[in-house]
């Protein structure tokens, strides 16, 4: 703790003394017995010997200055100590007006430093402020880094904030003319159609009861696209026909993916009936290509064209869109990279297919551009375990990348 060094009576009748010379300057240390300064008394010049050890932190009475016995002439303590409180106490009337103003200047520069620091890094902990003043500032929304504290060491106290006006939220100038909105479009109320209600009920039921988990793979579609290009010199085959065929053939090898939960048993279907989600004007429908594993791509594509046409015109019979064993949803034409789909019961899995996108990939340490398609399988964990789904996805990816595997 820093302390004040007081003028002592160096002779029995001394009342005042003049500091002739400071032997220990500011920031210099001393030990017991060192002569701190020389003091001219009413009779003679005496040495002021230290009775303690420490470092002179601040000289309050400079050489040539006078001090009465009992008045502080310096502050000493450990190097680097905060002596602002002690300096603040030094407001008493002394004969050294000059010295006093210097002291106050010291306090003031300290304040300025404090506020400058805080405005830069906004570290509120470094602003000295009484609890009450802090509360008042908070209630009035005052930026305390802008307030000059008048308490000891620059502490912000009640009087410094009580007369400050309440600050509205900080203004940030933005260049625009505010528009008064007079009219608004009317809300449109659409009664729920039976179709919407059924979609809502079925998908809610699926999402609530089936614990979905999702696996995504990126597939290099180079070979599929090349094959399609080759075939399309003669036929006009949709990409979905290829996807359905490859998925159907892979499902044959992974029966658990083509399955359903039936009360206390799991049925692995003996058929591969693949539904394709088709958007309609109001809702969506899932027309089905039955036994897709046994059909060729040409037939699948023909059936798809018919089914999609019927779907768009609301002409599908219930047997054409119910009881699929697996569903594919393709949003690639909308530019969707990847997404997750909700399982379409009674199936236990659904494949969400994104767009084919030219993507840089690393191959043999080289960056090459490939047409990449991302596929995400949503699976019902009650039926399908993660490893099974992963094995299916790996197989599916391999088959897409090498379509020849589909005929194995």
């Amino acid at each position: 703790m820093a302390e004040k060094l007081y003028m002592i009576a160096l002779s029995p009748t001394m009342e005042k003394g003049t500091i002739v010379k400071w032997n220990i300057k500011e920031n210099e240390s001393f030990t017991e017995g060192d002569v701190l300064c020389e003091v001219e008394t009413d009779k003679t010049t005496m040495d002021y010997e230290a009775t303690d050890e420490g470092t002179i932190l601040k000289i309050l009475v400079p050489e040539g200055g006078k001090a009465a016995v009992g008045e502080p002439i310096a502050i000493f303590g450990e190097p680097g100590e905060d002596i602002s409180d002690l300096l603040f106490e030094e407001k008493e009337e002394t004969e050294f007006v000059e010295e006093k103003t210097q002291t106050e200047k010291q306090v003031e520069t300290k304040n300025i430093n404090i506020s400058k620091d805080t405005s830069e890094n906004n570290d509120l902990d470094r602003i000295k402020i009484s609890p009450l003043a802090r509360k008042i500032a908070l209630m009035k929304n005052i930026d305390i880094s802008k307030i000059k504290g008048t308490g000891p060491g620059g502490r912000i106290v009640k009087r410094d904030v009580e007369n400050e006006p309440v600050q509205t939220t900080k203004e940030i100038k933005r260049d625009y003319v505010p528009i008064q909105v007079e009219t608004r479009d009317e809300d449109i109320v659409i009664p729920l159609s039976d179709k919407r209600r059924i979609i809502g009920e079925r998908l809610s039921q699926s999402k609530y009861t089936a614990p979905h988990f999702y696996l995504t793979v990126s597939v290099d579609m180079s070979n599929v696209l090349e094959n399609r290009k080759l075939l399309n010199k003669k036929y006009n085959l949709s990409l979905n026909a290829f996807i359905i065929k490859i998925v159907a053939n892979t499902l044959k090898k992974h029966r658990r993916i083509n399955a359903t939960l039936n009360n206390d048993s799991i049925i692995e279907f003996g058929r591969v009936d693949i539904a394709l989600a088709v958007a309609q004007e109001d809702g969506l429908i899932t027309p089905i290509v039955r036994n897709a594993d046994k059909k060729g791509i040409l037939q699948i594509d023909d059936e798809l064209k018919t089914l999609i046409d019927k779907a768009k015109n609301n002409k599908l019979d219930p047997e054409e869109y119910t009881n699929a064993t697996f569903t594919i949803s393709n949003l690639g034409s909308f530019g969707i990279d990847e997404f997750t789909a909700i399982i379409n019961p009674p199936g236990s899995a659904i494949l969400a297919v994104g767009m084919i996108k030219e993507t840089p990939v690393v191959e043999n340490g080289e960056i090459v551009i490939k047409p990449i398609m991302k596929m995400t399988l949503s699976s019902d964990h009650r039926v399908i375990d993660g490893a099974l789904a992963a094995a299916f996805m790996k197989d599916l990816k391999d088959t897409f990348e090498n379509p020849i595997l589909a005929i194995l």
Partner: protein, 325 residues
């Protein structure tokens, strides 16, 4: 209303209670035939006789123990210590028996006893006879500690202490016996555990009790002339402590000085200071200042003796410090 001394106020309280209840008795050194070392029991021996006003030998631990036994047996003794400096002899009886008997007997015994006498520094009594002992007693659960600062409070609180079924340490002061104040003719009681706002104010709260209250009132008057509006809270009771009155005042003024003539370390003042910092933190505009006796044994030299204690000058300095002026 008549103006009477503190001495007379205390005498009236004992007289009234002895007349009201035959179980009340007074015992202590010089209380009977000599009418009390400080003449507080003036006339009681003549009035109530030697069975109820009893001179004891100089054996504080002994007669404090006799008093505690009498209280357990159903009497209501008032034990006078010639000074609370001597009560340290009886510290074992007070702390280990009086304070704990009700608890340790599972409520089977009550100890309706009052220990009273002058406490704190007087003049020229040196270190061993100038101690403010309230902190020693206030520390002990089971003891009530009361320290009035006016004749009015002294009478009302002593009557409450005599009627209380628990041991009460009732602290007076040699220098206060001759202080005068208004006391009504009719009977009244002041509840133990209620502080009193001796002066309303808005700028700063000064909390005090017992003898220093006088310096606080003088300081308040001087500060008033300088335009500083002081609120004075007189604790009156140290245990139980009236937290609400303390906190309400500090919440109003945002500043507090506590004046306590005991030593500063683990004192009533330091406890109240902590309480304010804990329960009124957001209301404080300045650290709570304590004005206490210096942390040294009381010097014999009269100038040093005065310098070691709280004074009007020290109180005014402290007030200006918490007001940042």
């Amino acid at each position: 209303m008549s103006i009477i001394t503190m001495r007379e106020a205390l005498r009236q309280a004992m007289d009234e209670e002895m007349a009201r209840d035959k179980n009340v008795l007074l015992m202590g050194e010089e209380v009977a035939q000599y009418n009390g070392a400080y003449k507080v029991s003036q006339g009681l021996y003549d009035k109530y006789g030697e069975k109820r006003v009893i001179d004891t030998p100089i054996t504080e631990n002994g007669f404090a123990g006799v008093g505690i036994g009498a209280a357990m047996a159903g009497l209501r003794p008032i034990v006078e210590f010639m000074t609370f400096n001597f009560a340290l002899q009886a510290f074992d009886q007070i702390v280990n028996n009086a304070a704990k008997m009700r608890y340790m007997s599972g409520g089977q015994f009550k100890v309706p006893i009052v220990f009273r006498g002058p406490n704190g520094p007087a003049e020229y009594l040196s270190s061993q006879h100038s101690q403010a002992t309230q902190t020693f007693f206030a520390h002990v659960p089971g003891l009530k500690v009361v320290a009035p600062g006016t004749p009015y409070d002294a009478k009302g609180l002593l009557k409450a202490a005599i009627r209380d079924d628990n041991p009460v340490i009732f602290l007076e002061s040699e220098l206060m016996y001759s202080w005068e104040g208004e006391v009504p003719e009719e009977e009244y009681i002041i509840d133990i555990g209620k502080a009193d706002v001796k002066k309303e104010g808005s700028d700063v709260t000064i909390i005090s009790y017992s003898k220093p209250l006088r310096y606080v009132m003088e300081s308040a008057e001087i500060l008033e002339k300088e335009g500083i509006n002081v609120e004075v809270v007189d604790l009156r009771s140290i245990r139980p402590l009236d937290e609400d009155t303390i906190l309400n005042s500090v919440k109003k003024t945002n500043r507090c000085v506590i004046v306590d003539e005991s030593w500063p370390f683990v004192s009533v003042a330091s406890h109240v200071g902590w309480l304010i910092s804990y329960k009124a933190f957001d209301y404080l505009d300045a650290p709570v200042e304590l004005v206490t006796s210096e942390d040294v044994p009381m010097p014999y030299n009269h100038n040093l003796e005065l310098a070691a204690q709280p004074s009007v000058d020290k109180i005014i300095k402290a007030v200006k410090k918490v007001m940042y002026i």
